[in-house]
Amino acid sequence: MSIWEYANPVRFMRLSDRVLPWLAALSAIVMLVALVWGFFFTPDDYRQGSTVKIIFIHVPAAMIAINAWVMMLVASLIWLVRRHHVSALAAKAAAPVGAVMTMIALVTGAVWGEPMWGTWWAWDPRLTSFLILFLFYLGYIALWAAIDNPDTAADLTSVLAIVGSVFAVLSRYAALIWNQGLHQGASLSMDRAEHVADVFYYPLVTAIVGFILLFVTLVVLRTRTEIRARRLRALLARESRE
């Protein structure tokens, strides 16, 4: 039994039907724990005061924003190579989630930046990169929406995801050269002791796990919606043929 079995829409529906409630409950619990922990039970930072609490939304959202695009790229490649419909539809399903996460990262970043840097918006390379990423999400979603034939749409958006990835990475470096920024370095890395104290580190990791679970839950749910939409389309097409 290989993992590709679940690329069959019917099998995917059966499996996800069983898994989704547990996944949803788990992600809700972890999210709740992380945010309550982060909001109520973490101390203020000596430099940033209570604004440091924003990290528990800002950083996980930003991580999901980037990794959702990576996941879409991988799913697109799988669709192009192996023609598994679920893969293409999962990429489609992930795009709005990624776009909203990007928006959350931008909004919380702006709200965090105002007291810290004294401005709502700085054209700092990292913020700029997220804005650019948001534009890529918009284009990707718009292309899916504009094409009537779903297989054609899956193919074309996959090509766009590949080319877009190359140019998104280029834009990232372009933004770096364009304006060396205000952002602090990675807030979370292997040598965490240097960057984030334990009191922030553990709730932050919990929040990241929670966001990942939320992302997976939403993508599974939305993929189910897309599969149903495809089935609906196929049934209507067959009906109109009679």
Partner: protein, 238 residues
């Protein structure tokens, strides 16, 4: 009218199609299509609109890759002529044809102009041609391309009977030179060398269509309706 003669095509070979299945969009339209056209013959595809004549032609041309099946000749030996004639209004008749001649590496367009009675119009911009003249110019591309297999989708649509006769004469000369043609049309050209194939029997059957489209799988049915509420409730409850 003098008889039209074309230089014979080299290495003439029959077009054999075996067990071809083709799709339009995501749907399987035709399956099990089998036919063979020897050099010097034309096969007329007949069927009501929407039955898949164009789909079949595009599959043979590999414009839409077939789902299954074999086609004995490669697309490099075929020319395509569809509903739209590919004529550029801003270019003259000569420029239009010259372009396709250069693309296909042919050295002369004179025979093509002659065959479609376009010599007198050679320097006229295509914008000033009548609908029939324009269509003839589009069809003249077939002669310039010098390929032995012609795939024609409704070539005689909107043509008057004189132009149809001209066109039939050109197709006749093409066949006499060892070429072959696959023509989707409602109006037979009245050629001596034509056979007719009805596409309707090849329409994809229900179970073949289902096998092609995983979203028509019967396994969906029990879950799509009744059990739906349960799946998402976990999402709202916590």
């Amino acid at each position: 009218m003098t008889a039209l003669e074309l230089a014979p095509y080299r290495d003439a070979a029959p077009l054999e199609v075996r067990d071809l299945a083709c799709r339009r969009g995501e749907r399987l339209i035709l399956e099990g299509v089998e036919f063979s056209v020897p050099p010097g013959r034309a096969l007329i595809l007949r069927a009501p609109n929407g039955a898949g004549k164009t789909t079949l032609l595009r599959a043979v041309a590999r414009l839409t890759p077939p789902v299954r099946g074999t086609i004995s000749l490669s697309p490099e030996r075929m020319t395509w002529f569809g509903h739209a004639d590919g004529v550029k209004a801003q270019l003259t008749v000569t420029e239009n044809l010259d372009f396709w001649a250069r693309v296909h590496g042919s050295d002369t367009i004179a025979p093509a102009l002659a065959a479609f009675r376009l010599e007198d119009l050679a320097d006229r911009p295509a914008a000033y041609l009548s609908a029939g003249q324009r269509r003839r110019l589009g069809l003249a591309r077939l002669l310039v391309a010098r390929r032995p297999v012609w795939l024609l989708d409704e070539p005689t649509v909107s043509l008057d009977s004189a132009t149809v006769a001209t066109f039939a004469r050109v197709v006749g000369a093409h066949l006499a030179a060892g070429g072959l043609a696959l023509i989707a049309t409602h109006i037979p050209l009245g050629l001596d060398e034509e056979d007719v194939l009805d596409v309707t029997p090849f329409r994809a059957r229900e179970n073949a269509e289902r096998a092609h489209d995983p979203f028509l799988d019967a396994g969906f049915a029990p879950m799509a309706g009744a059990r739906d509420g349960t799946a998402q409730d976990g999402e709202t409850r916590p």
